[in-house]
């Protein structure tokens, strides 16, 4: 019997286990996870922190789901991988011998690299335990400083505010998330944050975390200003967890390198999810996605290849729909603004920032805005803020690479209501509404 070992109990690992089980009711599957909480919704941690969800709701699987999956679950930290011996060492928990191994190790939050970063009161929003830790600290805190420019940073801002804290949000540059949002979109998020009582500090870097009896007492900015706080929260990006793969001699770059079959440089070791840097034969580029759905697709494809299939992973257009500062935002396909990119951020895709020769147009005002990235014959990307009716049609038009020649000129006209043109065009091409 083939021994399948899956390292990681996030969405990539669990989906792989589901797919292996679906193909073989008797398959031998072991899942190894360092996280004692097993499988839960990491994106949901933000809603747990904001008070919208109770803790137990984050667990995706019921007891019956686990029984149906019928896997051996080992809570342990993998300490060494020996590919030649097909052996995964788990420290004091012993070792596992595998025939097929999936590295679904995910990513981990990048830690602040400034003096004081090790103090009690410096937090991240990465795991269940991180979130519980924030709750504990917030009970005795009055103020917090949040550092970082992407989704997680704003989720931390909102979550800490929801705990009743006075929140200072440091933006390194002159606006929020400049490598994905354009200026109008950034300003909208900033305005909403300010309306919720957040203190925005532009062109501000944390230079040092100040201490009092081993705990956070404040932050000194690069400009020399001191801000009192008891919590410093960082959402400055994530790093694929690939130390084990590197030490084992597997090919790595920014993540664990895999081909379109999710196979690493070792034939019987696969990788999927945030940790994997996946080759796309259509573009010739290897990219990292830190999104839930691509992780799910990769886990499924990896499982098919681990069980004897030959199923390539085909990257869809990267989509994330989320709520930032109370505003719904859909980010679809290539939308980059050409500004300096972050390394890797959670809930992101490197493909968003990859732009061929394109024109960006936008329309709308106030909270409802649409921005399109228009290529020669197709739409390449879109950002839809506020009202989301257009998001789904745009997702279809972009994913299916629909030829937009009939409306391209209209879309490029400055005063054209993009929404109406797009909906009419979508009806024509899709035959909707029925």
């Amino acid at each position: 019997m083939i021994r399948h070992v899956i390292l990681g109990a996030g969405v990539a690992g669990i989906t792989a286990a589901e797919a292996i089980r679906a193909s073989d009711q008797t398959a031998d599957i072991t899942i190894v996870s360092e996280d004692p909480h097993g499988f839960y919704s990491r994106p949901g941690l933000a809603y747990y922190l904001s008070g919208e969800l109770p803790e137990k709701q984050l667990y995706v699987y019921s007891k019956e789901d686990w029984q149906r999956l019928n896997v051996r679950f080992v809570q342990a930290r993998a300490t060494r991988l020996l590919p030649q011996e097909h052996r995964l060492e788990l420290g004091e928990a012993g070792a596992l011998i595998y025939d097929r191994l999936l590295l679904a190790t995910g990513s981990t939050a990048v830690r602040l690299n400034i003096p004081g970063a090790e103090l009690q009161g410096v937090v991240k929003l990465d795991t269940f335990d991180d979130t519980r830790h924030i709750f504990t600290l917030a009970r005795r805190a009055r103020s917090a400083v949040v550092v970082g420019g992407g989704i997680i940073a704003v989720e931390l801002v909102e979550g800490l505010r929801a705990q009743g804290l006075n929140v200072h949000y440091f933006l390194r540059g002159e606006r929020y998330w400049p490598n994905v949002l354009d200026e109008k979109e950034s300003r909208l998020v900033e305005k909403r944050l300010a309306e919720h009582g957040i203190n925005l500090h532009y062109h501000t870097d944390a230079a040092e975390i100040l201490e009092k009896r081993g705990k956070v007492a404040g932050v000194r900015t690069a400009k020399g200003e001191n801000i009192r706080c008891e919590i410093v929260a960082a959402g400055i990006g994530v790093r694929p967890r690939m130390e084990l793969a590197q030490a084992a001699g597997l090919a790595t770059e920014r993540g664990i390198l895999v081909d379109e079959y999710l196979q690493t440089s070792q034939a019987d070791i696969f990788a999927a999810g945030d940790a994997a840097q996946v080759f796309d034969p259509l573009t010739g580029i290897s990219s990292i996605d830190t999104l839930w759905y691509p992780a799910r697709q990769q886990g499924r494809a990896a499982a098919q290849n681990m069980t004897g299939g030959r199923q390539p992973f085909r990257r869809n257009v990267a989509v994330n729909v989320l709520r930032l500062a109370g505003v719904m935002i859909a980010i679809i396909g290539s939308v980059g603004t050409g500004e300096e990119p972050l390394d890797v951020a959670r809930g992101s895709s490197e493909t968003w920032r990859r732009l061929p020769n394109t024109i960006a147009v936008g329309s709308g005002g106030g909270v409802n805005q649409v921005r399109l990235t228009i290529g020669e014959q197709t739409l390449l990307g879109a950002v839809v803020m506020g009202e989301q009716t257009l998001a789904r049609p745009l997702q279809e038009l972009i994913s299916n690479q629909v030829d937009i020649t009939p409306v391209r000129d209209q879309l490029l006209q400055p005063s054209m209501p993009l929404g109406q043109v797009l909906m009419d065009f979508w009806y024509t091409t899709s035959g909707k509404p029925s």
Binding site: G44, Q57, W292, Y293, T389, A391, R392
Partner: protein, 88 residues
């Protein structure tokens, strides 16, 4: 047709609710469970979203609580067509 009413043809809220059911778009779902948590009659909406199935539970009131609360716009109303769509 105004965009705000463009996706579904029914013109009143009541008609929309009575003639439709809730449909998830699994590609957007992050399984946070807000839908399930807020369902007034306890339907595990998240499970349907995970499996990519329409919410065909006959107890569903189509009250719209899950549609409105979802922070990822995963859920929407769609017209009920039991002959073509059921179970998909």
């Amino acid at each position: 047709m105004p965009i705000s009413t463009s996706i579904s043809s029914p013109t009143t809220r009541h008609e929309a609710l009575a003639s439709g059911h809730v449909v998830p778009e699994s590609a957007r779902c992050v399984q946070c469970g807000i839908c399930t948590f807020n369902c007034p009659i306890g339907i595990d909406v998240r499970r349907y979203a995970r499996l990519g199935e329409h919410i065909t539970n006959p107890r569903c009131l189509t009250c719209g609580e899950c549609v409105q609360r979802c922070p990822r716009c995963v859920l929407r109303f769609d017209r009920l067509n039991i002959f073509k769509e059921r179970g998909k």
